[in-house]
Amino acid sequence: MRTILYLIRKEFLQIFRDKFLSKAIIGVPIVQMLLLVPAITFEIKNVRLCVIDRDISADSRALINQLEGSTFFKIKYSTFSEEEANDLMHRNLCDVVLQIPSEFGKNVGTGKPGKVLATINAINATTAQLSWAYLNGVLRDYNMNILLENAGNMAVSSIPQIDITNRYWYNEMLNYKYYMLPGVLGILVTAIGFLLAGLNLVKEKEVGTIEQINVTPVRKYQFIIAKMVPFLIIGLVDLSLGLIIGKIIFNIPFEGSVGLLFLGSAIFLVAVLGLALFISTFSSTQQQYMFIAFFFMIIFILMSGIFTPLESMPVWAQRFDIINPMAYLMRINRMVMLKGSTFSDISHEIYALMIIAIGFTALAVNRYRKTA
C-alpha cells in the first residue's frame, strides 16, 4: 500500500511539473463548457423563408401573415422569380422557398384544394424535417380558420375531434442545455483521462524511463493502479468543476443525488482509464497511441447516444453498446441529473460499468510486461 502511495505521489509531481498541462487540465474543460453548451441546439428559431406569392390576394396575404406571426419563420425575401429563389438557396441565404400559385385565392374555400409548394433545403435532413413539421403546423392553424369561416362554429363542433395535449416531463421547456451539458461534460472528462493516462505510460516507454520502474520490485498491479489513480482524481475534479458551472451558470436542475452521479462517474473513469492503459501497453510511440485512442473515442462517442437516440441504431449496434462505457455514462448522467433516478433505477448500468471497469483494468495489468 505504501509503495502505491509513493508511486501516486511521484505521478502527481510529474504531471504538475508541466505548467502548461496543469493549467490546461483545469482551463480547457471550463472554457469549452462555457463556449459549447449554449451553442448546441436543434431547436429551430429562425427558419429563413423566401416567398413567391403569385396570387397577391387577401387569402395569400392572410397565409403569409400567419407565417410571419409564428415564432419559427422569418420572411427574409419575397420575389416572383423561381430562379432568384433558387439562387438564394444556393447562396445559403434562405432555408425554405414557399410558392403560392396564382389560383390560390380563388380556390380557397371553393371546394378545390388550394395548393402551396414548399421547397426545403434538405442537406441537413433533421432540420429540414423540423421546418416541414412547423410549416405544417402553421398551415393546420390556417386551415382551421378557413373551416371556422366557411362552416361556422356549429358545424365544427358536430365533427368528432380528438384533442391532443403534449407534456414534456423532466424538461418542460425542452431546454437543450439540460440535454447537452451532461453530454459535453462526459466527453471532456473522458477525453482528458483517456489521452493523458495513456500518453503518460507510452511516454515512459518511448523515453525509456519505464525500465527504471521495471527493475524495481514494484508489482504489475501496483504500477497500473498508480498510473490510474491520479487521472481518476483529475477526472473527478474536472467533473465537479463542470457540474458547478452547470449549476451556477446554466442553472441545470439537480434532481438526483450528487453522490450517485459521482459513484457512476468514478466507475466509468476506472473503465476508461483501464482501457487507455490497456491500449498503451501495445503502442510504442505517443503518436501511435494518440491515433488509436482517437479511433476508439470517436466510435464510443458517436455510438453512445450523446447526439442521437440509441433506439434508432440497428440491433447489432445496440448490442455493441454493451461494452461501450460512454453509453452507460450518458444514461446515468441524464437520468440522475434530470430525472432524479435512484440507485435502484440505474443499478443495471452501474453493475455493467463495474464489470467493464474490472475487465479493462485486468487486461491492462495482464498485458503489461515488466520484461521488455
Binding site: 459549447l36 413539421a133 391532443i164 418542460e172 458517436l302
Partner: protein
C-alpha cells in the same frame, strides 16, 4: 547549385516518408478513422426515431383507444414497451429510462368521442432528450390526427383545406450522409493534419533530434517543408479515399467540379498543416501538442462548425464566435461544390477567408519558430 539543394531536400522528404511508413499501425488507423466514421454515420446513427419505446396508459380500454394504440405502434416509429395501470407508473418507467413517451387516454374516451364529439389524449414525452421528444410528439400528433380524420369520415370536407406539397431540395430522400460526408472530411483534415504536424515537429524538439537537423546544411524552412510534405500528400490521399468511399458506399457523387473540390481541399490541408506548425511552435512536449490539437480542436470542430448543429439556430453571438473557426468555411465550400453543385462564384468568399487564415498561420509560425534551442 539549386539542383543540389533540391536533391538534399528530396532526400529529407524521403527520410520522413520512411519514418511514416515504418509505423504501419498508425498508417492503417489514419485511414481507419474516416472509414469508421463514414460507416457509423451512414449505417448506425440517425437523428430520426425508429422503434422508440412507448407505453400506453389506457384508462378506458375501449375499441377506439385500442385502435389508436395499434395505429401508433404499427407505424414503425414506435414500439409498445408495456401497458401502465395508473399515473404513478409513468414516473417509475420514465426514471428507469425504459420508455421515451407515454400515451394517456382518459376514462370513457370512446364514449366521449362519440356522444360529445370530443375526447382528450395526452402525450407525455421524456424531455431530457429534447430532439427525440419533439419528433415523438410530432409523429404521434400526426398519427392521431390522421385517425381522427378517418374517424370523422365524410363529415369533414378535407378538400376545403389548403394542402401543402413539399420538395426536399438537394436531398430528396432525406439521407443523413448529405450532411455528414462534408463534416467527416472537415473533421478528419482538421484534426489529423494539425495533430500529425504538431506532434512530429514537437517530437524532434522534445527528443533533442531537432538539433541534429538544425546543424545539418538544411535550412529551417526546408526542414519544416520536408516534415509537412508527406503529410500533405497523405491527407490529400485521405480526401480522395473518403470521396471514393462515399461514392461507392452511398452513391454520393461530386455534383460540381471535382477539380475545384480537390483544389479547395488542398487549400484547407495547407491551412490545417500550417496551424499544426503553429501549435508545435508554442508547445514544448508531445503531450502539450496533442492536448492543444486534440482537445482544443475536436469538440469545437464538431459542434461549432455546422457539422451536426446548424449555426443559424445558435444564439446570435455564435455567428461571430464560429467565424474564427476555419472548419465552418470549409464545410460550406464542400457542401456547395459536392451537393449543390455550385461553381466557384458561390464559394469565393469562403475561399478568400481560408486563404487569409492560411497566410496568417504561416506568418505566425515562421515568426514563432526558433532556429536555436535554448
Amino acid at each position: 547549385m539549386t539542383d543540389y539543394i533540391m536533391k538534399r531536400f528530396l532526400g529529407f522528404v524521403k527520410k520522413e516518408f520512411l519514418h511514416i511508413f515504418r509505423d504501419f499501425r498508425t498508417l492503417i488507423i489514419l485511414f481507419g478513422i474516416p472509414t469508421a466514421q463514414i460507416l457509423i454515420f451512414g449505417f448506425v446513427v440517425s437523428t430520426d426515431i425508429r422503434d422508440a419505446r412507448v407505453a400506453i396508459l389506457d384508462l378506458s380500454k375501449d375499441e377506439v383507444t385500442q385502435k389508436i394504440s395499434d395505429k401508433i405502434c404499427s407505424s414503425g416509429f414506435f414500439r409498445r414497451a408495456g401497458d401502465l395501470e395508473n399515473y404513478d407508473d409513468i414516473d417509475r418507467v420514465m426514471k428507469k429510462g425504459k420508455v421515451k413517451a407515454v400515451v394517456v387516454f382518459g376514462t370513457n374516451f370512446g364514449h366521449n368521442l362519440i356522444s360529445q364529439n370530443k375526447a382528450t389524449v395526452s402525450i407525455i414525452a421524456d424531455g431530457s432528450e429534447p430532439n427525440t421528444a419533439t419528433l415523438i410528439t410530432n409523429y404521434m400528433t400526426a398519427i392521431i390526427t390522421d385517425f381522427s380524420r378517418e374517424f370523422a369520415g365524410s363529415s369533414l370536407s378535407s378538400n376545403l383545406l389548403v394542402q401543402p406539397e413539399v420538395r426536399m431540395f438537394y436531398n430528396p430522400e432525406m439521407k443523413g450522409h448529405f450532411m455528414f460526408v462534408p463534416g467527416v472530411i472537415t473533421l478528419i483534415l482538421t484534426l489529423i493534419c494539425a495533430l500529425m504536424t504538431s506532434v512530429t515537429i514537437t517530437k524532434e524538439k522534445e527528443f533533442g533530434t531537432m538539433e541534429v537537423l538544425l546543424v545539418s546544411p538544411l535550412k529551417p524552412l526546408q526542414i519544416i517543408l520536408g516534415k509537412v510534405t508527406p503529410y500533405f500528400l497523405l491527407s490529400f490521399i485521405n480526401v480522395i479515399f473518403i470521396l471514393l468511399l462515399s461514392f461507392f458506399v452511398f452513391d454520393l457523387p461530386v455534383k460540381g467540379s471535382l477539380v475545384l473540390l480537390l483544389a479547395e481541399s488542398m487549400l484547407y490541408i495547407l491551412m490545417s498543416l500550417s496551424f499544426g506548425i503553429l501549435i508545435s511552435a508554442v508547445s514544448k512536449t508531445i503531450q502539450q501538442a496533442i492536448f492543444i490539437s486534440f482537445l482544443g480542436l475536436m469538440l469545437p470542430t464538431i459542434l461549432l462548425s455546422g457539422f451536426i448543429f446548424p449555426i443559424e439556430n445558435m444564439p446570435e453571438a455564435y455567428n461571430w464566435v464560429s467565424a474564427v473557426f476555419p472548419p465552418r468555411y470549409f464545410i460550406v465550400i464542400i457542401k456547395s461544390i459536392m451537393i449543390k453543385g455550385t461553381s466557384f462564384l458561390y464559394v469565393w468568399k469562403e475561399t478568400l477567408i481560408l486563404t487569409i487564415m492560411t497566410t496568417l498561420f504561416i506568418g505566425l509560425s515562421v515568426k514563432n519558430f526558433k532556429v536555436r534551442l535554448q
